[in-house]
């Protein structure tokens, strides 16, 4: 195993820029690692060996020509398969998009290419990002590098496992209800959901448009911030993109690394202080809160009375939006077509195609959404959920008048065994209990690894006000400076 794969993205970028190592060597080291371990981890759905080497050589050629390289130029990255990548298979882990090669790049992808970063391939996920374990992928599950009998979280389990297993130093995820943060927590990696509108949704295959947020995945807080800085910022192609400058998350991460949180006010969400969480998770969380106090933070308990309704509201809003968004998979413009035998009508072909192309969880959510939006049920379900969303936002606004950030465990339980929660879909939904409120509010949140419970990683979630992404990075970096990072056993 090459030592290069153990370096952080910041270190790799600096070495490449200084000419200590070539981008091609760094890329090949990661491709070798993928070849060595991904048969067991299954983090990737597609590895672009040739494209990666070509992109790396282009960076090396620029450097040889005397061009100044950016901080992440030549650094490899894995991309969640829900992000459109021009000419590279993009399936959202669904059979309905098997073999689809998008004719364009997502904005996130364009920015990654412009930064000179090297895409290694596309990572596994729950189909259309609906799930919390990556078991709902149509192409088989991903296995947690900490324990290959356990799930890597979801929906972005492939991105988190690739980073935890040293197959990539960085990855892109998307977070609709916790799909970046919960995989981060259970794989001992860092994952950030930026402010909604802070990163562009253009080219992200839509699940729930009012919630979907692309974001960075890495092994350190600084690396996460460096990638955040690359992908964030206004995009005229996304009408919900916020036309404001990106908060300086890299500077905030560097400031936080000093470990001084004097004067910072941290709120513990009272409603998330134990109920439903594993004792081992709560024990690590309590130790972390004590560590925050030692760093100088002032810690107080804050009540957010409507957070208990976030999960039910989310599981009405997200399916409603998905039932509408996934109508585009109609067997006409892209993807699968089934039953076009010259006799079946268009409507029959659509129904047969969608039946064959979608997995169970996607079908369940489409049906729930169709129900919640139908006349007669709209007011009681979708309409009421939107009102609850307002009340959750008010809870956040009122909390941030008293404290700078809110903290909670990222997820109630550590990585569970494959198959443990698939029989009862609602048990799977509980993995997102603590992450969902932030999505409904729209603010940023980050999960940072803070300890182990019975040998498995536990994450701390830090939630900040809208467009105060820098604040959560400062605190995450301070926590990291005192608890360190966590390395899984050798694969």
């Amino acid at each position: 195993m090459s030592d290069l794969i153990k370096l952080t993205a910041a270190e790799l970028g600096a070495k490449i820029a200084a000419g200590d190592v070539s981008a091609e060597e760094v890329t090949r080291a990661h491709l070798d690692r993928i070849a060595e371990v991904d048969g067991r981890v299954h983090a990737f759905l597609h590895v672009d060996n040739d494209g990666a080497v070509e992109a790396a050589r282009a960076v090396d050629a620029k450097r040889a020509a005397g061009e100044q390289l950016g901080p992440l130029a030549g650094v490899p990255i894995a991309i969640k398969d829900v992000i459109a990548t021009k000419g590279i298979p993009t399936t959202a882990a669904s059979k309905i998009l098997e073999g689809w090669r998008p004719p364009y790049d997502a904005t996130v992808m364009t920015r990654i290419r412009e930064a000179g970063m090297v895409m290694l391939g596309k990572t596994n996920m729950d189909e259309f990002a609906m799930g919390s374990s990556t078991e709902y992928s149509a192409y088989g599950p991903t296995y947690n590098p900490w324990d290959l009998t356990r799930i890597p979280g979801g929906s972005g389990g492939g991105s988190a496992a690739a980073v935890a297993g040293y197959e990539a130093p960085l990855a892109i995820g998307t977070d609709t209800g916790g799909s970046i943060r919960q995989p981060g927590a259970v794989t001992g990696t860092v994952g950030a959901k930026p402010t909604y509108g802070g990163t562009s949704r253009y080219g992200l295959i839509a699940f729930s448009s009012s919630l979907d947020t692309p974001g960075p995945v890495a092994r350190t807080v600084l690396d996460t911030a460096l990638l955040h800085q690359v992908i964030a910022g206004h995009d005229p192609r996304d009408s919900t993109s916020i036309p404001l400058p990106v908060p300086d998350v890299v500077a905030a991460a560097r400031q936080g690394a000093s470990g001084d949180l004097t004067g910072v006010r941290v709120g513990l969400v009272k409603e998330f202080s134990g109920e439903g969480a594993e004792p081992g998770v709560m024990a690590v969380f309590r130790d972390t809160v004590e560590a925050l106090t030692k760093l100088g933070a002032e810690v107080v308990e804050i009540s957010c009375p409507h957070f208990q309704y976030a999960l039910p509201a989310y599981y009405l809003i997200a399916p409603s939006e998905c039932s509408s968004n996934l109508a585009r998979f109609d067997s006409v413009r892209f993807g699968l077509r089934v039953g076009d035998d010259g006799r079946n009508s268009l409507e029959d072909v659509m129904s047969l195609t969608r039946e064959a192309g979608f997995g169970d969880e996607v079908k369940r959510r489409i049906i729930i959404g169709t129900y919640a939006l139908s006349s007669g049920y709209y007011d009681a379900y979708y309409g009421q959920a939107q009102k609850v969303r307002t009340l959750i936002t008010r809870d956040f606004t009122s909390a941030f008048e008293q404290v700078d950030v809110l903290v909670s465990p990222t997820t109630p339980f550590t990585a569970f065994e494959l198959g443990a929660r698939t029989a009862d879909p609602y048990q799977m939904y509980l993995a997102d209990l603590y992450t969902i409120p932030t999505n409904l509010y729209g603010g940023p949140a980050i999960s940072v690894p803070v300890g182990l419970s019975e040998g498995l990683p536990v994450g701390l979630q830090i939630m900040a006000p809208t467009m105060a992404d820098d604040r959560m990075y400062r605190i995450a970096a301070a926590v990291e400076s005192t608890v360190g990072t966590f390395t899984p056993p050798a694969l």
């Binding site: 509108g197 006409v332 413009r333 892209f334 993807g335 010259g342 049906i367 129900y371 009102k387």
Partner: protein
Amino acid sequence: MAAISREEVAHLARLSRLAVTEQELDRFAGQLDVILQSVARVGEVAADDIPPTSHSVPLVNVLREDVVVPGLTREEALSGAPDAAEDRFRVPQILADEE
């Protein structure tokens, strides 16, 4: 009492253009009932006078500059289509012959 019946699930599946099987209906009806009973808790919140939130970003009527920018070529737009003919998406028949 069940929140949703097997017949309702079958109806919703038809509306959603999902040709679900009998076995799927058996499986989904129970699962969807558990989910709906759980999410119905949103009804416990007194929210009559609360405005709904559809979106966290308070932007309206976002328009870009009215300038021509390159889009997809016809070949690119058709590149992922299951079937294309005469530079168009080809679809199965919409009306039966006898109509």
